[in-house]
Amino acid sequence: MPTLLERQRGLRDWVLAAGGAPPLANAGLHRDNILGGLATVLAASFPVLHRLVGEACFTGLAQAYVRHQPPREAPLSRYGTGFPAWLAGQEVARQLPYLADVARLEAAWTHAYHAPEADPLDPAALTALGDAVEDAAWRLHPSHRFITSPWPVDRIWRANQPDAGDGAVDLGTDGDTHLLVVRPAAEVLLIRLRPGAFALLMALGAGLSLSTAWNNALALDADFDLEHELTGLLAVQVFTGVELP
């Protein structure tokens, strides 16, 4: 008789392989439950992708991904972090070139949804710094993610929400789409930023000072208006702290 370890490795190998004789009668019920269950988990995390390619195509992709990269932990909220990168190498992503970037946006949304809570920056702390604010380091909300794409992935995402109509999405853009995904309170926000504001926030998120970040923004956008953009970013509560080095 096989040992318990041999039993368990044998079932795992059979479930993740495509084909072969089942190790015991009815093992197929467990295989179907595992693969079907994980495809359902991925469909819940990537609903727009699911809608764009359809049920049959999505299930095929999801089950292929499960066999390529099965979960490494029981909480499944993070499962599928590697799905967008894997998807980029599949044939369907060559046919629909925006698909992998839409998937990256959905992975960012899921990250933001489950991220830890953090209190927003107190405006008084900013005022108290005075001119020293130029040298200060800024902390961004732990839920934040940055997405850049040559496609208008935010428009694609919004047009494929359950409550959206059937309107066609204009895929034309004048340059890259820069998005901030953040969940400062209960709701996940999806915010399109101008290139200068995006560069500023990326630099602040990397720990650079406001004066350096400002120069980065000006390098991309000569008309960059720091006060205007910073006011907008403060209003969406993407910052959680500001402190002198």
Partner: protein, 286 residues
């Protein structure tokens, strides 16, 4: 107050908070609130915190792999301990099953052969869990489709011995007994009689569906349909033997409107009232 609780589903959250129906407890799957870098915040935790202020909680793990041949995942166990510390549930439960091997997680509750060697292994894992959580846990009987030729313990005797060795309680899923009885040939009545009368601290009832797999008729434990008459009969037998044990109406697929779940909870409470007297709360009479 009756003896029945329901599983917490996101779509019912607002209605539960607004209507506060009379329920003995709410049950959640531990893993939906866990995860190393994520999982500590967000809407799910906000809702659970609000509901925890209104109802006792049962935290039901599906991912610890008590029956796994490899050592328990100590990161998972520490995460579970933190969740239990945060929400202070009335019960913590897990399954007599495995789901993890060589670090790969298979999202199913996979059965183990019942041997003297597997008994020692599972007992050690339960001891380790109870030590880490600093409390007793309840262990649930699985639904079985596969029969292992090397099994030489009846499942009920195996569970009873686990409870005796580790001091754990038993979460008795009467739907799983019914499903397993059909699929692998258990005697449901003998099963109930073989369990110690004082070890059963929670009961699950759920729906199943008949399917045909490779030419065989199988009962599939889907948690996706109403509880059947046969399972309510077995539930009545279980209450008769074990007393008015807190009971979960379990539904994880085809989630119906809240009123339908509350009506099923009222059915369970009604059976308890018939057997033991008392009143069913009005809130259940949906």
């Amino acid at each position: 107050m009756g003896i029945t609780g329901i599983g917490l589903k996101a779509r019912h959250t607002a209605e539960l908070l607004a209507g506060r129906p009379g329920l003995r407890f709410l049950e959640v799957h531990a893993e939906n609130y866990m995860g190393a870098a994520m999982g500590s915040g967000g809407p799910a935790h906000r809702w659970l915190t609000a509901l925890r202020a209104l109802y006792p909680l049962s935290i039901h793990g599906v991912g610890l792999s008590l029956g796994g041949a490899e050592p328990l995942d100590t990161d998972h166990l520490a995460d579970l301990a933190a969740l239990v510390e945060r929400y202070q549930p009335e019960w913590v439960s897990e399954h007599l099953a495995w789901c993890r091997i060589d670090g790969t997680y298979l999202n199913d509750l996979l059965p183990i052969p019942y041997t003297t060697a597997s008994l020692s292994l599972v007992a050690d894992h339960i001891d380790q869990t109870q030590t880490a959580l600093r409390r007793r846990i309840l262990v649930e009987n699985p639904s079985s489709y596969m029969a292992f030729p090397e099994s030489d313990w009846p499942e009920a005797a195996f569970l009873a011995e686990l409870a005796r060795r580790t001091g754990c309680g038993i979460l008795l899923d009467v739907n799983n007994i019914h499903v397993s009885a059909h699929n692998v040939g258990l005697d449901a009545g003998a099963y109930l009689a073989a369990l110690p009368a004082n070890a059963v601290e929670e009961i699950h009832v759920a729906g199943h569906e008949p399917v045909t797999h490779e030419g065989r008729a199988v009962l599939l434990d889907t948690h996706g349909a109403p509880v059947t008459a046969a399972v309510w009969d077995l539930y009545r037998q279980a209450l008769t033997r074990f007393g008015p044990v807190p009971t979960l109406v379990e539904r994880d697929a085809n989630i119906p409107p809240l009123a339908e779940l509350l009506a099923e909870a009222a059915t369970a409470d009604g059976i308890a009232v018939t057997l033991f007297g008392g009143e069913v709360p009005d809130a259940h009479a949906a």
